[in-house]
């Protein structure tokens, strides 16, 4: 059997196997296992922030700006204060008096906690009320009277830098325009030279509209400040509890050891729960002022209009190639809409996140990108929605423009991609923008996908359908991601290095607890991380408890986003287990009275080489480590270790996706008929969980490609502020996902795992859009912008496509 046949067969088996995804085989480490967290979730016993009830707890509600841009003339809170159930009403002026009206964003900008002088986007926080119950708090908001002097809003990103555009950030001294930052990467001159000699140059404007992660659980917290001890406990929807604690310490002046941040179960994050939102700060302030626990839970509209959005890049793409289809260079200029405050959550030296990987999976001669980021009267954010720090935008750009090139060259998109793939022997491969891809075998992944999809048959079917006037499209996309941020020499957020800690403690009876700094939002860390440790140290998965999400109980680290849990914390978990195993080996040598070198590891026990009869289990060793009697010289009692893992490079998962769509020529409705996703995330720890991560990301892709957009009217009103207007895929728009995989381990990761949480969100939108555009080929269409709703597809079919903003 060839390697390809084997992969395809495995993919098929993987599929069948899922029906019986139980723990019959109870792998002692990696392999398909049911999740430790599920017994509580299926009984309704998950514990999310809003489930928390504390004695005397009060409820906080936020008054938000109804307009996008206005000076605040006056605020009258007297009627609200008079409400019998209201405990406090706080405005920006009150916070300003304490120096708390502004807070730093994760991008070294500032953001208003409560507006003082001016509101800069619709939904911005203006005042808050604390009351005895949630209904009364909301009632009291109605009693606050704010007078606004409305200013012209900056809504269209293309007009943000026009000379007559109203300046938004008047809070920044000397600011005379809406310019946020400029950024570039690659070699401009070299790229220009390559473009000058190319046979073919294709240009395409490509917009990645503003979207929103919209996790099913909105953001919120309970802040509990105890006056006597000076201890603040914050239960919060945070993907990065440690980073949040440090920021709160820096902002509030409370000593860091008196702040405990606890992220309980989180109902989905997708990047939405990385930033610090004004609501959290308001709840903390309220608890400090009133001395009682205070709960703030935003509603869905608040979530959609004010919390971290994603994307919003207007891109001009250019690709240069020979007439035979050898891609020579890619160039792009991006206009980035950052909203009213630069709240991007990305490593500080990467203001455009990892957009620099826009050269994709291809071996080029040159590349260049310039970017202009601007302020507009929209909510802040920018890095969220499983984007791997803007790799979604980069991959969408390259995969769309490569398809545009295929269109112009009249070449099959698969053939064009294969002709340009970075080859297996070129790894580690340094891209023209300086990224060092760790490992890959792109053609193999593509072949598995083609085989699973039956690509040639699909093309034949398409030809027949076209002859009958039916619209069927086949879209191909190939992506390479850069995840697992990141090496501390290059990457930090607000000065905090992006390393992650891990602590493993083996109890006397051989059961263990692993404490990690990352934080699950549904990914199943309690299972995956136990499996990582089990694989290394031979303790059954069931005997390993994983603790995350509590800053008092876990070592420091930067949390879960950018698919970094497995690449960074997973590495930490494996290495800490090896450290414990090394100590166990020394203790075992004492127990068996042989030298350390005479022992060999048998997953769960040390055995004297050549003498299988003489061995001790890890459980025996644990008891000995804590028990009576001498230990080998220099060895302390106990069996535990802690490490902090600093990744030497990012990891580079990749995948090949094929999408088949049918479009109703009468209504322009797009139906995704099939979707084949072949992912390579290196070593696979729990295939069931990986598949789940991929399915979720593919569904995001349907949302972005076909349905989701945070849009605004010309006055800056957000017209996607509810789930009636912001459409999220249901089971009816979503096909039965078909997944497969190849395995190309990362050479520098301790267990070769690359991370997979965002792969499908990155890879699926271009596959779907490519399929829709392919279906519309008879109409002479080379490109259409997302979201490809029936009306937008219809417009494209009529020859007047509308840009999404």
């Amino acid at each position: 059997m060839t390697a390809l046949d084997k992969s395809v067969q495995e993919a098929a088996v993987e599929h069948e196997d899922l029906e019986h995804a139980d723990n019959d085989k109870t792998p002692l480490g990696h392999g398909r296992m049911l999740r430790k967290e599920d017994p509580r979730f299926i009984r309704g016993m998950g514990r999310y922030v809003d489930d928390l009830q504390l004695n005397g707890m009060l409820h906080l509600a936020i008054l938000r700006s109804p307009v996008a841009h206005a000076n605040i003339v006056s605020i009258d809170v007297s009627a609200a204060q008079a409400h019998p159930k209201v405990k406090a009403v706080i405005t920006g002026a009150d916070l300003a008096a304490q120096g708390l009206a502004w807070m730093p964003t994760l991008s070294n900008d500032v953001q208003a906690v409560l507006a003082t002088d001016r509101v800069r986007f619709q939904g911005q926080e203006v005042a808050f009320v604390v009351a005895e119950d949630r209904y009364s708090a909301r009632d009291a908001l109605e009693l606050i009277d704010v007078e606004y002097d409305v200013l012209p809003p900056v809504v269209d990103v293309r007009k943000a830098l026009a000379p007559d555009a109203e300046v938004i950030r008047t809070d920044l001294e000397g600011k005379k325009d809406n310019h946020c930052f400029d950024w570039e990467t690659g070699d401009k001159d070299a790229t220009e030279a390559v473009f000058a000699k190319a046979d073919v140059v294709v240009k395409q404007d490509i917009v990645y509209p503003r979207v929103h992660p919209a996790p099913m659980e909105t953001c919120g917290c309970v802040a509990d400040y105890e006056r006597v001890s000076g201890q603040l406990t914050l239960w919060t929807t945070s993907q990065a509890p440690h980073a949040h604690r440090t920021v709160y310490a820096l902002v509030s002046g409370l000593p860091e050891h008196k702040i405990r941040v606890i992220a309980p179960d989180i109902g989905g994050g997708f990047g939405n729960k990385v930033p610090i939102y004004p609501g959290y700060v308001c709840a903390i302030v309220a608890s400090l002022v009133i001395g009682k626990p205070v709960k703030w839970m935003e509603d869905r509209t608040e979530n959609l209009v004010s919390t971290g959005f994603a994307r919003d890049y207007v891109m001009q793409g250019e690709i240069a190639a020979t007439k035979e289809g050898k891609i020579l260079a890619i160039r792009t200029h991006v206009l980035a809409d950052h909203g009213a405050f630069n709240g991007t959550a990305a490593p500080i030296k990467y203001p455009a996140g990892f957009f620099g990987v826009f050269t994709g999976s291809y071996d080029l001669e040159a590349a260049y990108c310039s970017m202009t980021a601007v302020y507009t009267n929209k909510a802040p954010g920018g890095v969220a929605y499983a984007c791997s720090f803007r790799i979604t935008e980069a991959v969408y750009l390259v995969e769309r423009i490569v398809d545009c090139l295929a269109y112009e060259l009249e070449m099959d998109p698969v053939e064009l991609r294969k002709k340009n793939f970075i080859q297996p022997d070129q790894f580690p491969y340094t891209t023209k923008t300086g990224w060092v891809y760790d490992s890959g075998d792109y053609e193999r992944a593509m072949d598995v996908a083609l085989e699973m999809a039956g690509y040639d048959d699909l093309r034949r079917e398409q030809e027949e359908k076209r002859a009958k006037g039916e619209l069927m499209g086949i879209g191909v996309a190939f992506f390479t991601e850069a995840v697992g941020a990141g090496p501390r020499k290059d990457m930090d957020i607000l000065g905090l290095g992006m390393a992650d800690g891990s602590e493993l403690r083996v109890h006397p009876t051989g059961k263990a607890v692993l404490r990690v700094s990352c934080m699950s939002q549904g990914q199943g860390h309690e299972t995956t991380f136990a499996q990582i440790v089990a694989e290394e140290i031979g303790i059954p998965v069931a005997d390993i408890q994983v603790v995350n999400g509590d800053t008092d109980q876990t070592p420091f680290g930067l949390g879960t986003y950018g698919s970094r849990s497995t690449p960074v914390s997973g590495a930490a978990a494996a290495l800490v287990a090896r450290k414990v195993r090394d100590k166990a080996q020394i203790i075992a040598s004492g127990m068996l009275e042989v030298s350390v070198a005479d022992l060999e590891w048998q997953k769960g026990s040390f055995q004297v080489k050549g003498d299988p009869g003489r061995s001790v289990t890890i459980q025996d060793i644990a008891m000995r480590a804590h028990g009576a009697g001498d230990l080998p010289e220099g060895i302390e009692g106990g069996l535990e270790a802690q490490i902090c893992y600093n990744p030497s490079n990012l990891t580079y998962p990749f995948g090949a996706y094929i999408c088949v769509v049918d479009i109703d020529p009468g209504t322009a409705e797009v139906k995704v008929r099939r979707f084949v996703a072949v992912d390579d995330c290196g070593t696979r720890i729990n295939p069931m969980i990986i598949e789940g991560q991929v399915h979720g990301g593919l569904t995001d892709g349907i949302g972005m490609a076909l349905m989701e957009m945070i849009s605004f009217d010309e006055d800056g009103n957000c017209i996607a502020g509810s789930l009636m207007d912001y459409l999220i895929p249901t089971a009816l728009e979503t096909p039965h996902w078909e997944t497969g995989h190849t395995v190309t381990p990362s050479p520098h990761h301790p267990i070769g795992a690359k991370g997979v949480g965002e792969s499908a969100t990155v890879g699926s939108p271009p596959a779907i859009v490519n399929a829709v555009v392919d279906a519309l080929k008879p109409y002479g269409i080379r490109h259409a912008d997302m979201p490809l709703t029936p009306s937008r597809v219809w417009d494209a079919m009529q020859g007047h496509p509308t840009p999404p903003i």
Partner: protein, 169 residues
């Protein structure tokens, strides 16, 4: 006003405001936090419970309207320590990730199977189409419900102990 209803087989009486939503009644008054809340517009379905045997979005029902009726929540799915096959199915087929949509999905699934013990994939997709899951992409939810349909009496004896990675040993 005073409201009395049966929740998971037990009669409860509480003094509530007339405008109190059933979802808040269950969560805040009774502490049954397995029923979730996820939107302002009756779109997400994380709040689905049963009222007199029919799935309802409890964010769209006043507690007062549930007076005199029988309400069933996710906490009432397990009977005498035996999981409902739907719960088994979700656990076995990875029908959940963050677990936020899960209670509502399972209650809809139970109602579907009571009405139609052998649904097709399309019927399942239609049944849950008023509910959103942001994590799973639905394929595994469909599988979970099919599993429950195929195992109306729960797991076969051989697999009676659904060992998760968390089971004590």
């Amino acid at each position: 006003m005073q409201v009395t209803m049966t929740v998971n087989g037990e009669s409860v009486t509480r003094e509530v405001e007339g405008r109190m939503l059933l979802v808040h009644f269950l969560r805040d008054e009774l502490g049954l936090t397995g029923t979730h809340w996820g939107c302002d517009t009756s779109n997400c379905g994380t709040c689905v419970t049963w009222m007199d045997g029919e799935p309802v979005k409890s964010c769209t029902v006043l507690a007062a309207m549930a007076g005199g009726r029988e309400v069933r929540t996710v906490e009432g799915l397990e009977k005498d320590g035996v999981l409902d096959p739907v719960q088994e199915g979700f656990m076995r087929c990875h029908g959940l990730q963050c677990g936020f949509c899960t209670p509502g999905m399972m209650l809809t699934a139970r109602a579907l199977l009571d009405r139609n013990p052998h649904p097709t994939e399309q019927e399942i997709r239609e049944a849950i189409s008023g509910q959103i899951c942001r994590c799973t992409g639905y394929t595994t939810i469909v599988r979970s419900i099919l599993w429950a349909a195929e195992h109306p009496d729960g797991p076969t004896p051989a697999a009676a102990e659904p060992e998760t990675a968390g089971s004590a040993s």
